[in-house]
Structure formats: C-alpha cells, structure tokens
C-alpha cells in the first residue's frame, strides 16, 4: 500500500529556473509532510516541512505547498542550483507513531 507516491522518477531543470517536485498521498491521517534530499551513499537530509493545517511554508529558496483536498503537495526550488542535483523524497508523518512514510523519490538534475 503506497501511502505516499512520487510519480516522476526523474526531472531535469536548467540552472536558474524553478524546479517543481510533486508528491501525492492517500493517508488523510498524516499530521506533517517533510521533504528530504539525498545524495548517493549518504543519509537523507531534512529540507523543509509543512503541517497538515497549513497550505504553504517557505524557507529561503524552498517552498512547500499543500493541497489537502487533492492530497497533493509540491516542493518548489527557485532558483535551481547545480548543488540541488540529488534525489528528493517526500514523507508523511503521523503524530503518535512518529514514523516517516517515504515516497519513492524523484531524481532532480540541474543542467548548468
């Protein structure tokens, strides 16, 4: 049962442009959604989160949007930089069991 889905396995974006990574979920019980960035042979690095009661959270170049009615969230990175090339995972978190349920990831490649 894939509770969190990232339907695009890969995305290429020109440097300086906006990168938009998408995520869909089926579990309405998630209290938070988080985005993680992962380089090969390293652990996931936390980027940004959003509470399920919010619809937007911004931190520098990163903005996460949540559309609860559509059960969809997206991560916007602007402007995109070469160092942003990595695999991005979205994850849902339920208070109470405190575990992260990850999506399958999207590999973002920033083209110089």
């Amino acid at each position: 049962d894939q509770q969190v889905k990232q339907n695009s396995p890969s995305l290429s974006v020109q440097e300086g442009r906006i990168s938009i990574l998408n995520c869909d979920y089926t579990n309405s019980m998630f209290d938070y959604f988080l985005w993680y960035k992962k380089y090969p042979a390293e652990g996931p690095t936390f980027l940004i989160s959003i509470s399920s009661i919010k619809d937007k959270n911004e931190d520098g170049r990163f903005t996460v949007f949540l559309n609860k009615s559509a059960k969809h969230l997206s991560l916007h990175i602007v402007p995109s930089q070469p160092g942003d090339s990595a695999v991005y995972f979205c994850a849902g978190l339920m208070r109470g069991n405190e575990k992260l349920t990850f999506g399958t990831g999207t590999r973002l490649t920033i083209i110089p």
Binding site: L34, A41, G43, P44, F46, F89, F102, G103, T104
Partner: protein, 111 residues
C-alpha cells in the same frame, strides 16, 4: 552542529551470521529509528524506539531483528541470522519533535 553517527560505514557478512549496526543519536532527542533502503528502492521504516522500548515496528522487522539502547547513548540494530535480501543501506535517525535527522548509513552486504 549535532549529528547522528553510524558505524561501521560498510559491513560485509556471510549469510547466516549475526551483525550489529551501531548508532549514536543526537543526545537530547527522544525518538530513535532504523530505516533501510535496498538499492534503487525507497527508504523503508523498520522500527521506532521511545522511552527505552519499541513503539512501532514494520512487517520487515521480524524475529531476526532486535534493537537496544544499552548505555543511554548508543542505539543498536542486531540482525541475528542475515539473509541475502538483508543487503541494503541501513539508516539510523533521531528526532526531538518533527524533523528526523539521519545518519550517513551503514551499507550491509550479505554474501
């Protein structure tokens, strides 16, 4: 900046052998986790640990797996009798509230 540390970075073991993966979570964090990622697949939850006991475990975390926090700082994952399909990156994580911080991972190779 505080970080989660894991040792070893790479472990090769023969099928059927026991392995212990070690982690030092961030000291003031309350929840500790093990996740794993099989090559090319998504990061999967194994177990969460709170207040010195398992709070939740996945169906992957069967009787061959166990966790311990033996001394208040280390957090270990033991696999009693490894199988080929246990080969994966194993990540330890800890959290104080919402965002979990992950270690660099241990690559376990079962041969």
């Amino acid at each position: 900046e505080p970080e989660v540390t894991q040792t070893p970075s790479h472990q090769v073991t023969q099928m059927g052998q026991e392995v212990i993966l070690r982690c030092v979570p961030i000291s003031n964090h309350l929840y500790f986790y093990w996740y794993r990622q099989i090559l090319g697949q998504k990061v999967e939850f194994l177990v969460s640990f709170y207040n010195n006991e398992i709070s939740e475990k996945s169906e992957i975390f069967d009787d061959q797996f166990s966790v311990e926090r033996p001394d208040g700082s280390n957090f270990t994952l033991k696999i009693r009798s490894t199988k080929l399909e246990d080969s994966a990156m194993y990540f330890c994580a800890s959290t104080e509230y919402t965002e979990a911080f992950f270690g660099q991972g241990t690559r376990l190779t079962v041969v």
